[in-house]
């Protein structure tokens, strides 16, 4: 079973979200990076861009596949991980750390409560395995 840290929330599209004060940091889960394999390209929005919950905000590509990234919450992108354009492999190496993708200033606090808890995400992964 893939690593699912207890202090994060999750989407069904395999993004993680971490509350940091009034902001939310976003990345993809250990399960997602394992499924993708070697990440060789990450395309992120610009700082200042608006993202919408459950909508595509960027792209992560492995050697073989292109996968959309989905925003866990709506809001404004206040930070992006510029390191990923030079070192996309960071996503594989440190998924929940240096492999983060964007930081969002949420515009709708209610969306946070809609995200999956670690336990719900683990159950979701267990179902997906069958």
């Amino acid at each position: 079973m893939a690593n699912v840290p207890k202090d994060l929330k999750y989407t069904r599209e395999h993004e993680w979200a971490k509350q940091e004060g009034d902001r939310v940091r976003v990345g993809i889960t250990a399960y997602a990076q394992e499924q993708l394999g070697d990440v060789v390209f990450v395309e992120l929005p610009k700082v200042g861009a608006k993202v919408t919950a459950s909508k595509n905000f960027g792209v992560v590509e492995s050697v073989k596949a292109v996968s959309d990234l989905f925003a866990p919450v709506s809001g404004e992108v206040v930070e992006i991980n510029g390191e990923l354009s030079q070192k996309p492999e960071t996503v594989n190496q440190d998924t929940y750390g240096r492999g983060w993708m964007i930081v969002v200033k949420p515009s709708n606090g209610g969306e946070w409560d809609q995200l999956l808890t670690p336990q719900q995400y683990e159950e979701f992964l267990a179902q997906a395995a069958h």
Partner: protein
Amino acid sequence: MSDAPLKRTPLHAAHVAAGARMVPFGGWDMPVQYRGILEEHRTVRGAVGLFDVSHMGEFECEGAAALAALQSVTTNDVAALEIGQVQYSVFCYPNGTIVDDLTVYRLAPDRYMVTVNASNLDKDYAWVTDHATSARWRNVSDETGLIAVQGPKAEALVGRLADRDVTKIGYYRFARGAVAGVAALISRTGYTGEDGFELYTAAADTPRLWAALLDTGRADGVAPIGLGARDTLRLEMKYVLYGNDIDDTTNALEAGLGWVVKPAKGDFVGRDALEKIRAEGVRRRLVGIEMVDKAIARHGYPVQKDGRAVGIVTSGSYGPSVDKYIAMAYVETALASVGTELAVEIRGQAKAARVVRTPFHPSRVKKA
């Protein structure tokens, strides 16, 4: 796609036991990766890798008219083949588009073997038995296993296990021998741009040979390599892949395969069309492109010049050994020269690219 169960090579159990990620490919359940595509790619460029290519098809072609039969369905000149020699070739439709690409082995004066792509096996066998009827054909695919040993240490590894001096086998030549006690046709060919061999064996012997190569090659850093790295390795060499870069809509000349189209040998299926295309000049050409903007061009993405559609991407990925995003694309002939600035439309945006010299990575095949 059909719902038929996926076929398994003689090495299927070994792949599963090694923890490979298995995917459907051309009707087969095949390993796409073991430890990771990038690492496997670098293993082949830097040491030696083993590929299970037992899914590929092998036909034997025999009889006094075998040569004539092969000449009538292939574009290259089979008469130029000596016994022990291999030739790259193409089966064409009458309009010059491609049934499949293949290799022809001359086993004996009147006996040949043809190796074809797994995904085209049934179509190819129907094609040759319909169009090259003067020979006796036998589909030996199910009884044949095939392991490719590729990389700078391939010669040393195969040499240690072989009962003959494999350094004497030249590029696109083969010899019979035993490798790890397993009877094999040892062919100095491959699909990676590295030196190496393809070892044809009886299907039942293939797992024993695979295990011996892995065991003996440990000191060389040998590893099994999946289809993912096979694809990035061949892309860096601009080797075409049927279904991606060539198919029944692309002709052999625009695909850059003119070097194996030999109309002077006599008639063959597609000859008239290809002669006409050659005389008139191809309208588009398969070129290598490198992304200038950061983005990955993938199969089917449009190619543009100043906003105008001028071609299409056929294969593209990250090239691990060149450390660039590279692709192959058909573009209008006038835009095919090295240095031409183009764009690839990626998710609605024009991303800058340019035509570059190929292969993207220097070939290190052993040309005697």
